[in-house]
Symmetry: C2
Subunit: 221 residues, 2 copies
């Protein structure tokens, strides 16, 4: 979690460590790196045109955040979860996301409402276009706007951390055009309940959204 953590918003030229960490995070969350895949220090060093030192540090940070895991023997691997573990992780997400929805509903402002709607519009656009990559990004952004609407960066960061960890597993469930459309549609109910400013309804709605997401995820993992 540590994870995770309230991130530094560096305007500076990124160091090699940051570049590598971000790049790996991106690849993992999009599913380009398969769960269980081994990450080779030397190989990554060559790929990123750096030495092993910054690669090592990036890998170490990612393991500290739970995105990667130290292998039984050698090497670090993209975290791979079985059904039991996935269900526990989703249970944790479930709780956090529900809290996010509840708090967001309580604190909704014109600005955050607009941002959520804008993010959802992007989702719909990507889904209708059938652009899977764009939808994955838009969907991430959508959930991020809800986290942001809580006004609490620590809760938001925690939620993001789980989203990153489950990224590769959730990504698999968006296979067809229909999947994208269905996901986008399911956002609508969620939005309605968050915008209702009935925080209990918002929380319940998010729980149901997450449960559905988990069911779909289990089917493909």
């Amino acid at each position: 979690m540590a994870s995770g953590s309230a991130r530094q918003d560096d305007r500076q030229r990124p160091s090699a460590v940051q570049r590598i960490e971000q790049a790996l995070l991106e690849e993992i969350s999009v599913g380009a790196l398969e769960p269980g895949q081994r990450l080779d220090e030397a190989g990554l060093a060559e790929r990123f045109g750096a030495s092993r030192t910054p690669v090592r540090e990036a890998l170490s940070r990612l393991t500290a955040q739970g995105v990667l895991v130290q292998g039984e023997r050698r090497g670090v691997f993209v975290a791979e979860y079985g059904r039991e573990e996935l269900s526990q992780i989703f249970e944790a997400m479930h709780e956090i996301e529900a809290a996010c929805a509840r708090i967001a509903a309580q604190r909704l402002t014109l600005l955050t409402r607009s941002e959520i709607e804008a993010a959802q519009a992007e989702c719909v656009k990507a889904a209708e276009a059938g652009d899977r990559g764009a939808y994955l990004r838009a969907n991430e952004a959508f959930h991020q706007t809800i986290y942001a609407a809580t006004g609490n960066p620590y809760i938001a960061e925690m939620a993001s951390e789980f989203r990153r960890r489950t990224g590769p597993f959730r990504a698999k469930k968006f296979a067809t055009h229909q999947d994208l459309l269905a996901s986008a549609r399911s956002h609508e109910d969620l939005i309605r309940d968050i915008f209702s400013e009935d925080s209990t309804a918002a929380s319940r709605s998010m729980r149901s959204h997450m449960t559905a997401s988990f069911i779909e995820t289990l089917k493909v993992n």
Copy 2:
């Protein structure tokens, strides 16, 4: 969160990185390292009889978990939070702990009941002895048993992460013998509600425990 993160339970001889990371974590959570204090790579290297490389890696991991923060300019520091930030962090803890209490109440077993009671007995013992260091550790252990009682290591890890981050701030509020006794007593109500197996009551009770803890923390920070 990272992480923080579901930890590897290493039986192996710990590497220098792990030793340093653990030692710093311990010192921070007990309040031996003050928030805002700068951590000097070279100095730590000397202190731990290692070179800067493993120190750097440990610091980087702790930063990734939010326990340390990258300074505006140079160096890394023990995370220092103002009232606004503290309140946000406590709000996040509040949510997680409440969820933990609720889930723990639902899944209570004879084993976890016993462990919670045993941990509480330790708290009482340390509080009556007026041993602040022992109480801090016992109190940590007490909360950990509740997290463990959820049966969900990911939720437990998340809760632990926040506990670590707020360690130095919460530690300050245990100044007198009375403080220890009061804290130990306040556990009793909490335990009663968790053991009642009424998960709503457990959650509510934890919220009230956390609110009280926050109020005390604010007084001394």
